[in-house]
Amino acid sequence: MHPPSNSTRRQFLGLAGAAAVLGTAPVVTLRPAEATPERLASAIRNVTGGAAVKTGKVKLEVPPLVENGNTVPLTVSVAHPMAPEDHVSSIHVFNEKNPQPNVANFHLGPHAGRAQVSTRIRLTDSQKVVAIAKLSDGSFWSASVDVVVTLAACTEEVI
């Protein structure tokens, strides 16, 4: 692609480009990357006990592009009746790349009337957020959203 040339300008630009890439690399490695997709899967197994998780019923609302990862509004709703014999008993929220895979567990009952909860969460990086609902019949339903985060939470130093 690039035959050897005498162009010092080209060499200079190449070096500058490499330096720019190297310069950004340490910023990426600074984040406390402890949670991984494997840890996410194991946190989900702790809740489901290995039962199959079907996709559907659950609606997870998170902004797809987050400017500030320190406070990200999140709403989970489950399209399911809340009758005493058949209802949503809990909602669990997980993330892929924060230091811990768990975000929150919400315990509901048939008296809730509507299976919907909202809160505000932290995200340290662009990642996948997963919500899982447990129904009273023991089945699990999930939804996931990929979120892009521009300012990460948790990484700043405390003075």
């Binding site: 975000v103 509901l108 809730a112 919907q116 909202s118 809160t119 948790c154 130093e157 405390v158 003075i159």
Partner: protein
């Protein structure tokens, strides 16, 4: 110091589904941050939030460090009688706060 904001409708019709919103002021220190000296800042979070209506639990949340500072929750409940909602936040370092709100149901 710690203070709670509670939003519960003052009155509702029997059988209505109402929304409850709560906010507790708390730093929610994740335990993953460091001081400039490199020393880790110990975790200080609220770990549990419970809402009871006339003594019976209607909503409970387990919190992790990924919950933003000043934890906010919104959830729903069906009201069938007048009564009192009691809210309780429990956390690290002996944190424990309560709040309550009444509703009259016609």
């Amino acid at each position: 110091m710690a203070s709670a904001l509670i939003n519960v409708p003052a009155r509702a019709k029997r059988g209505d589904i109402i929304e409850i919103k709560t906010l507790m002021s708390h730093i929610m220190e994740s335990g993953y941050r460091h001081k400039a000296s490199g020393e880790a800042v110990p975790r200080d979070i609220i770990t549990s939030f419970t809402c009871r209506f006339n003594g019976a639990e209607i909503f409970r949340a387990d919190l992790f460090p990924a919950i933003a500072a000043n934890p906010f929750f919104s959830f729903f409940t069906t009201v069938t009688e007048s009564g009192k909602f009691e809210f309780e936040w429990i956390g690290d370092k002996g944190f424990s706060e309560t709040a309550s709100a009444s509703i009259s149901v016609e």
